[in-house]
């Protein structure tokens, strides 16, 4: 009889070979998968090694307290030996306030700090529309940061208490009616202007009343006269308000109930305060202008289209610096004789127009990418032009163009450094030059640039991450 030997039970699986598992597999696949990859890896390791050996001792030998660069160097030599290099962060410690605020009065630092904190409270309902949890977390963080920073920034106790109460109210409101928070967003520009520049509170309040006049006129007339006529009437009434009522009314109210913060002039602004003021204002205003320009460029009306194309192509064809010089040198020719208005305001206007032209192109790309059927469907529903744009076209077009819009914003924020060329004190060239011109810190270069660069990096990188989050959140297709 023949005997058969057959296994009746399964062999236990053997572990995969060493080269096919764990760290070794990962290394083989990702770093040493061929001769070329191995060379690349070795080159990469060499680059990292040389960077680390060059920079690490410099970081480790950092000096945080010293009076001058030469003293820094002495301390480094004393602690790390002859020929050692070390960073001199003592400069940042002594001059950080100039990098952040320029020559803003020291006893009023709480005002920009408060304005900056409330900026996030104002942006929160826009950034996290309808998300109670994110909204509350952000508002809470703002409250916490302001609580810690306002007192050292020499804010009056009453202001701190008031702000905390306000933010607590916001957080409570966010749980019930988050949309109500948008009203704070609407009045924030006036509040921010008042905090930063100071002066009578009635100036921004009466100016904002112009918008109330505009909205009131529109709402009162829209039932009887239709949207177009009532909008035009509203704008006209608001213009009348700003041109003829604003100034006398402000003076009258100011005479009755004066309430003012100490005035701060524009030439005292500097550092990141200046960059963020210009950047945020320009971002806020360039988006609506950019959308209008893009719509104008896509319009069927020949004259409107030509004007928009001409404007966009002109702005995009010249460097921002020339536009800034226009703001500082040429506006005095183009405006009526003897008008002279604030240089920061002039720069903001030109930077806004510059960004708006770029945004218009970006948004035009989004508009062009929408399938024709969306326009036709909107028409088929009987929507008029503005309703179709507002309800159907723009939400989709803007969603497509989010990454490009945000990179335009990042570019705009980086470009705020160029205001140094018209005599404003930006953090990069203006302040750093002042610091480097000081006899104590002459010859320092890595530290100020690393400090300023790091802050720019954090802000810009944060913006690009937020845009990726927004893209994910708004993603409605299921591909």
């Amino acid at each position: 009889m023949e005997k058969h030997f057959a296994r009746t039970e399964m062999l236990p699986p053997m572990a995969p070979p060493v080269t096919e598992r764990g760290v070794v597999k990962w290394l083989r696949e990702n770093l040493f998968s061929g001769w070329f990859n191995t060379i690349l890896t070795l080159a990469g390791i060499y680059v990292i090694w040389s960077l680390v050996t060059a920079a690490l001792p410099w970081w480790l030998n950092s000096v945080w307290t010293a009076e001058s660069l030469s003293q820094c160097r002495e301390i480094v030599t004393a602690t790390a030996g002859e020929g050692a290099t070390g960073a001199c962060w003592a400069m940042i410690r002594e001059r950080w306030h100039q990098f952040l605020f320029g020559f803003y009065p020291q006893d009023a630092y709480w005002r920009p700090v408060l304005a900056f904190g409330l900026l996030f409270a104002a942006m929160a309902p826009v950034l996290f529309a309808g998300q109670k949890r994110n909204l509350s977390v952000l508002l809470g963080a703002v409250a916490l940061v302001l609580l810690v920073t306002l007192m050292p920034a020499s804010a009056p106790v009453a202001v701190v208490v008031l702000v905390m109460a306000l933010l607590a109210g916001f957080i409570a409101l966010a749980q019930v009616r988050p949309a109500m928070l948008l009203w704070f967003t609407a009045i924030y520009p006036a509040l921010c202007f008042w905090l930063l520049w100071g002066g009578s509170i009635w100036v921004p309040v009466v100016a904002m009343l112009g918008f109330v006049v505009m909205g009131g006129a529109y709402l009162a007339l829209v039932g009887r006269m239709g949207p177009t006529t009532s909008a035009v009437t509203g704008v006209a009434l608001a213009l009348v308000w700003w041109l003829f009522v604003d100034l006398p009314l402000t003076q009258v109210i100011d005479g009755i109930a004066p309430f003012a913060l100490a005035k701060v002039n524009s030439d005292q602004f500097g550092g990141f305060l200046l960059a963020i003021t210009i950047g945020v204002t320009a971002i806020t205003f360039s988006l609506p202008i950019g959308i209008l320009l893009a719509l104008g460029r896509q319009s069927d009306m020949l004259i409107v289209k030509t004007l928009c194309v001409g404007f966009i192509e002109f702005i995009r064809g010249v460097p921002l610096i020339t536009l800034l010089f226009t703001a500082s040198l040429l506006l005095q020719y183009f405006l009526p004789p003897n008008t002279n208005f604030d240089i920061i305001l002039r720069v903001i206007i030109l930077v806004t127009l510059f960004a708006a032209a770029y945004l218009a192109e970006v948004i035009r790309g989004g508009l062009a990418a929408l399938p024709r059927g969306q326009y036709e469907a909107a028409d088929a529903l009987g929507l008029d032009y503005w309703r179709a744009q507002r309800l159907i076209i723009l939400p989709q077009a803007l969603k497509i163009s989010i990454p490009a819009i945000v990179s335009t914003f990042i570019g705009l924020f980086k470009d705020t450094t160029l205001v140094a060329f018209v005599g404003l004190m930006d953090p990069l060239k203006g302040v750093t030059q002042i610091v480097r011109a000081d006899i104590d810190w002459k010859g320092i270069y890595w530290e100020p640039y690393i400090f300023v660069g790091a802050i720019f990096f954090v802000i810009c990188f944060g913006m690009s991450r937020y845009s990726m989050y927004l893209e994910r959140k708004l993603k409605t297709d299921h591909r």
């Binding site: 990859n37 890896t41 064809g317 460097p319 270069y445």
Partner: protein, 425 residues
């Protein structure tokens, strides 16, 4: 049964200008045009009255008067006796040189980084990501200022290169030494590089406002001719391939045609390099490249390369995986897949944003003002403007020139773009 009522009689009421869609767009356009015309006439009348108040007049005559200032880097003949117009051209050439070199270098670097960022190598991919994020999120001005400061404050003085007799006897090396086979010296005053010299000079032709160097012209003509002949050779090879199916060997012909005439011309003219040498307290001979130029070029290249890398990466990623799978199925090797299948398609996605990066780079050369690089912005919009006090004319002229450069670049690149797009028949 309802009876269709008569068509209402056409009558024109004034309110139809607003409420009737047939007329509304015309009403709006006329209204806009009126507003625009009002705005422009307001600007012009303001300008006229402002000019009158300041006692100035609007004319460009100042361009022909003596400039009276020196420009460190003048690539066309210029002295302080030349006119403001010549200074303008010097600045324009300086702008274009930085822009051109920057575009070329940034493209090379950007393509390398973009491809490496896609590589399967984890370490290299991460390094390139760090590079891209670092350069994209920090203002260009910082890179310009930083490279300038590093170049001018950390580099050795010319006297550090000196080897004294005692040092030679003791066998000591000097504090600093020259690079690249002792031909390039980086000092705190600038970078000394060898300059090409010719034994035979072809002279130059004076065109009135500038003179044209015939030697450079000869080189340009010879190179253009070589490229043209090379294209003819390749076209002939392609025609033969399409007719008979087998492609003649062309690489040695191309090599000969492309490099032969240039080398022959160089030998004929006696081309040699003049190497900078330490004479006294400074280097003599060769060309001194100012740090403002080098810093601007380095910063523009590194900054724009980060953006180009992202464009290249996005372009390659936009190509459907099926394309490379199909190529492998046809039996193409990875290198040929990249060259014949992926890159030609990726190029279509890459070129439009690449154009706008080139435009950005060109416009960003105006930041050279931060390191006192005398480009168009520095000469026409800087010293000339300050000396003559003609803000209006200088600024308008400068904007016009930048606008023209931008339009020319985008026109050229759009031409190239349409040549690589799919030809739909």
């Amino acid at each position: 049964m309802a009876v269709a009522s008569d068509v209402p009689k056409e009558s024109f009421r004034l309110s139809m200008l607003i409420y009737d869609t047939r007329y509304r767009s015309i009403t709006i356009q006329i209204f806009v045009l009126l507003l625009f015309a009002l705005f422009v006439s307001w600007l012009i009348s303001n300008t006229i009255s402002n000019l009158a108040i300041r006692g100035k007049e609007f004319n460009f005559g100042f361009l022909w008067s003596r400039a009276g200032y020196d420009i460190g880097q003048a690539l066309i003949p210029y002295s302080n006796d030349s006119s403001h117009l010549t200074a303008l051209f010097v600045g324009l050439v300086n702008t274009l040189v930085v822009a051109l070199l920057g575009c070329v270098l940034a493209t090379i670097l950007g393509v390398i980084i973009g491809v490496l960022r896609l590589s399967k190598n984890w370490l290299v991919g991460r390094l390139m990501t760090v590079y891209v994020e670092m350069f994209r999120n920090v203002p260009l001005l910082l890179w310009i200022l930083l490279s300038y400061v590093i170049l001018s404050e950390t580099t050795p003085q010319p006297r550090d290169f000196r080897v004294t007799d005692e040092m030679a006897a003791a066998g000591e090396a000097p504090a600093a030494s020259m690079m690249l086979f002792d031909t390039v010296a980086v000092t705190n005053r600038g970078t000394n590089i060898p300059s090409p010299l010719f034994d035979v000079s072809l002279g130059s032709v004076d065109l009135g406002f500038m003179s044209v160097n015939l030697t450079i012209l000869a080189y340009i003509l010879v190179i253009a001719g070589s490229v043209w002949i090379n294209r003819r050779i390749l076209a002939a090879a392609r025609a033969r391939q399409e007719a008979t199916g087998d492609r003649p060997v062309t690489w040695w012909k191309s090599l000969l045609v492309l490099f032969g005439p240039v080398i022959a011309l160089s030998v004929g003219l006696g081309l040699h390099l003049e190497i900078p040498e330490l004479k006294g307290f400074n280097f003599a001979g060769g060309i001194l490249v100012a740090h403002s130029f080098t810093a601007l070029l380095i910063a523009l290249t590194l900054y724009t390369a980060a953006f180009i890398a992202e464009i290249v990466r996005a372009g390659i990623m936009a190509i459907n995986r099926g394309q490379s799978e199909a190529a492998f199925a046809l039996g193409l090797r990875p290198g040929r897949t990249m060259n014949l299948i992926i890159l030609p398609q990726a190029l279509r996605v890459i070129i439009p944003p690449l154009i706008s990066q080139f435009l950005n780079l060109t416009k960003n050369t105006s930041l050279g003002i931060a390191v006192s690089y005398l480009d168009l912005r520095g000469t026409l919009g800087g010293i000339t403007l300050n000396q003559t006090g003609r803000e209006l004319e200088c600024m308008l002229l400068m904007m016009l020139i930048y606008l023209t450069i931008s339009l020319i670049i985008s026109a050229l690149m759009n031409l190239y773009n349409s040549s690589v797009q799919i030809k739909a028949r």
